[in-house]
């Protein structure tokens, strides 16, 4: 297992370098004009001054030169400065926004896990019943509904029409201290983000359980007269959970990607919100740093899942040893 961890971590720099290279290449071929984004379309900036602005920021340099300079600064631990963040250091901008995104993603992951497990088990336990049908239909509906639509719908229903929850931001703007996150403000964005992944998990749990229930050892247990509930919870579920763990790693990436839309809808001051701006304004240092941070999270998340998989499933452990 140590070998697996070392091998994966050794691969991490290679993955990050590839991601950075790809991000630079993509911004090069994108149609966005950083100078236009910088001065705005309807401002009186002469062609000469535009050229000077491009030069001051290095927008006019070939992409490989910018990449080389970025690598050089990175070697000194400097992620550069972000245009979108008013020229402030990228590291500071990410640090100040990271906690909002981590809380959002962490909370959504929790909802996905618990909700998916609960409703998946429920649907499997009562397979073929009306309850199973309701859970499945809601899952299909959820899969078909795009997150921006769900987000707007939730905003209008729960914060505007019903006035139960606040409509965006991490705290009330009037509050004297707005450094933390008000739980009431967290509810809607967290649930909407969770809904982007929830249906997959639920259906996965249900289907895996049904498969495991058909396996020999479960049939054997049933033949011994063990009750259906105990059968499901003690014999089928532990085995169904093993692949479930690996899915957590993969879907962490999906949840992180989902923050771009969810944070924009709810005015959530996290990393997803600024990712879009960084992309539209060709703020390469910020865009690359966020992409790298997300890549690290995904790699580590997958690694954690694989390690857990080995811990939990003796067959894999022995095969790897």
């Amino acid at each position: 297992m140590l070998k697996l961890v070392v091998r994966r971590l050794a691969l991490l720099p290679v993955i990050l370098l590839a991601v950075a290279t790809l991000t630079f290449a993509l911004t090069e071929i994108s149609p966005f004009d950083p100078v236009r984004a910088y001065v705005g379309a309807e401002t009186d900036v002469s062609p000469q001054r535009r050229a000077e602005i491009a030069q001051a920021y290095g927008f006019d340099e070939p992409v490989y030169e910018r990449f080389g300079r970025w690598l050089g600064h990175l070697a000194q631990g400097d992620l550069g400065n972000s245009l979108v963040a008013g020229g402030q250091p990228v590291a500071g901008e990410i640090a100040s926004r990271a906690s909002a995104t981590i809380v959002l993603v962490g909370g959504a992951l929790l909802i996905v896990l618990i909700g998916g497990l609960f409703f998946g088990v429920l649907a499997a336990a009562f397979r073929g019943s009306a309850l199973d049908w309701v859970v499945r239909t809601l899952c299909y509906f959820n899969t078909a509904a795009p997150s921006f639509w769900l987000g707007l719908l939730a905003l209008y229903v729960f914060s505007i029409e019903l006035d139960w929850l606040p409509a965006g931001g991490t705290t009330d703007p009037r509050a004297v201290d707005a450094t933390g996150i008000d739980p009431a403000h967290l509810v809607l964005p967290m649930i909407v983000l969770a809904l982007t992944q929830y249906a997959w998990f639920t259906m996965f749990v249900r289907n895996t359980l049904l498969e495991v229930l058909r396996e020999d050892h479960v049939q054997f247990a049933r033949a011994q007269g063990i009750g259906e509930v105990a059968l499901l919870l003690r014999h089928a579920l532990p085995n169904a959970l093993i692949p479930f763990v690996t899915l957590v790693g993969t879907n962490l990436a999906e949840l992180i990607g989902g923050t771009v839309i969810v944070e924009s809808i709810f005015g959530w001051p996290g990393l997803g919100q600024i990712t879009l701006q960084a992309a539209l304004r060709e703020d390469i240092p910020l865009l690359v740093a966020i992409t790298l941070a997300a890549s690290v999270l995904v790699v580590l998340g997958n690694l954690l899942a694989d390690v857990l998989y080995r811990v939990m499933d003796p067959r894999v452990r022995e095969a790897a040893a």
Binding site: R36, V39, A41, E42, V45, P47, R49, A56, N81, G270
Partner: protein, 537 residues
């Protein structure tokens, strides 16, 4: 066994989630400070609060800085950090400004002439990359004569220079020798203004508190919070919920807010026009006769009614009605019959209600507008249905400016322009031949002179109006300019907006100036915010 381990994982995830959420919590402990707070919603958070990086001279939401001059309510220049109006030399090329000697920055450092010199030199320095540099292209040098006297040496007698003395002055002692592009000052600014920025939450809110040592006396409203609400419907919803106290809204949502008794709805008159640029290289629009005909075919009153819910006024040219430089003679009033006969004469003939044709070619062109702007979309739709009536097919496309600029010569584009100040500030770069780039130029994508107009009459009028300080003569040259623009018709003016600003009835003292082209809660409304008062709830 495996179940236990999974439980441990879930507990760990739970701890991350709850632990992080636990550090928050709503804070209603100090309700008095919250009650004395005015919350203003902007469409987006400004990313940089340094006035050197203001995207134009017209934005003025934040009040942490002062210029040498400011606009009085009637938009005449008035002293701000200057102790009197500036003096010009006989040739108009030396401008001397005397400064107040009783002003300090909010960190306690006295303000002096060296701060003014630093600010103007920083904007002109190409390394600063300030978007305001073009505005100061008439400045050759700026010198501190003594602590309270500054002299500007100009390369021409710039008649609009007083307007350029309104730029916010930054403190030299905090910025000298620094790379301004990356200065932490950009988000923690220190100025002389009535408000001091005390909090900048990236992506969240900006908090400004009253400056107790402001040289005109501390403002009455003690705390202003600027929060970004991008969605236009959400801004109205937040007003109705009482989460925010003030916001700019779009016309079609105004009736809904008017029904709410807690708010005053201001229709602020503006110079902010919506205008279609008709590119001189488009295969259809290149013909001036055709362009003139289109102008006669637009029922601008009707566009105001249908697209702006009646809140706006027709626009016939670059200078708004009522401005000293406005010339009524250049107006082309709605005359569909004349539009039709001009189109017939240009060879675009029509049978019945069909689209006009010249040979096998249909009279059809593309109109692009920024897709995220619902007001521009409504105006474009109204315009297109007017054009249909005179047999012209206008295809509409909502795009981003990044894409629009790659199609500069391939169709018309709806822009927003207009200042109620000196027209030279904006019109020269919009219309002069020398600001028309050639396709393939390094700066091919520049938005100055977007239709690539090259017209001698326009150039002559522009050069004449900026060569003299005599207002009577300039009025005459601006009249020539408006006539020449109407003849050339590369720009098709449609309407001027009124900005609809909603402010809580608790706020007293709101008295908006005529506003420039702006987005959200702009300078003309907030110009005297330091004099506003806020009633207790």
């Amino acid at each position: 066994m495996s179940r236990v381990r999974f439980g441990a994982v879930a507990a760990a995830v739970l701890a991350i989630g709850v632990g992080a959420a636990g550090c928050g919590g709503s804070s209603d402990k100090d309700t008095s400070a919250a009650a004395g707070t005015l919350v203003i919603a902007l469409p987006s958070q400004p990313d940089n609060l340094n006035p050197i990086y203001g995207d134009s001279v017209y934005e003025g939401t934040q009040k942490a800085f002062n210029g040498l001059l400011r606009y009085a309510h009637d938009l005449s220049p008035a002293p701000d950090l200057a102790s009197a109006l500036p003096k010009r030399s006989a040739d108009g090329r030396t401008v001397t400004v005397t400064l107040r000697d009783d002003v300090t920055f909010s960190d306690g450092t006295p303000f002096s002439a060296k701060d003014v010199v630093f600010t103007y030199e920083a904007i002109l320095d190409p390394k600063t990359a300030s978007p305001l540099a073009t505005l100061l292209d008439s400045v050759d040098a700026v010198k501190a004569v003594d602590d309270t006297t500054v002299q500007f040496v100009l390369n021409r007698p710039d008649p609009a220079f007083e307007d350029k003395l309104q730029l916010g002055i930054v403190p030299e002692h905090l910025l000298a020798g620094k790379d301004l592009k990356t200065a932490s000052f950009n988000r923690k600014p220190v100025g002389t203004g009535p408000y001091v920025v005390t909090e900048f939450q990236p992506g969240g809110r900006i908090v400004e508190e009253a400056n107790p040592s402001y040289f005109r006396g501390a403002p009455k409203i003690k705390r202003i919070v600027l929060t970004a609400v991008e969605d236009e419907n959400a801004r109205v919803a937040l007003l109705e919920k009482g989460t925010i106290d003030a916001a700019g809204i779009v016309p079609k949502l105004a009736p809904r807010v008017r029904r709410n008794k807690n708010y005053n709805v201001y229709e602020v008159r503006t110079a902010d026009a919506r205008v279609a640029a008709l590119p001189n290289r488009d295969p259809v629009l290149r013909d001036p006769a055709l362009r003139r005909a289109l102008s006669y075919g637009v029922d601008r009153e009707k566009i105001v009614q249908s697209a702006l819910a009646g809140v706006g006024e027709p626009a016939y040219g670059p200078i708004m009605k009522g401005h000293w430089a406005y010339s009524a003679a250049a107006e082309r009033p709605y005359d569909p019959a004349k539009a039709g006969s001009l189109l017939d004469a240009a060879g675009w003939t029509r049978s019945g209600d069909a689209t006009r044709e010249k040979g096998a070619k249909k009279l059809s062109f593309l109109l692009m507008y920024p897709a995220n702007d619902s007001v521009r979309k409504d105006i474009a739709l109204a315009f297109s249905s007017q054009m249909e009536k005179i047999g012209v097919d206008v295809r509409l496309q909502g795009l981003s400016f990044d894409v629009i600029q790659t199609r500069q010569d391939k169709g018309a584009t709806e822009f927003g322009y207009g200042v109620p100040y000196d027209p030279d500030l904006e019109l020269y770069t919009l219309f002069a031949s020398k600001f028309a780039s050639e396709p393939g130029d390094v700066a091919d994508t520049a938005f100055t002179n977007y239709p690539r107009t090259r017209n001698d009459a326009i150039d002559a009028a522009l050069d004449a109006e900026r060569s003299t300080l005599d207002r009577g003569a300039r009025k005459q040259h601006f009249a020539e300019l408006q006539k020449a623009l109407a003849d050339d018709a590369s720009w098709l003016w449609l309407v001027r907006l009124r900005h609809i600003v909603v402010i809580s009835k608790r706020v007293q003292g709101v008295d908006p100036q005529v506003e420039p082209h702006a987005h959200g809660f702009s300078r003309g409304t907030s110009w005297n915010i330091e004099d506003w008062t806020l009633d207790a709830t």
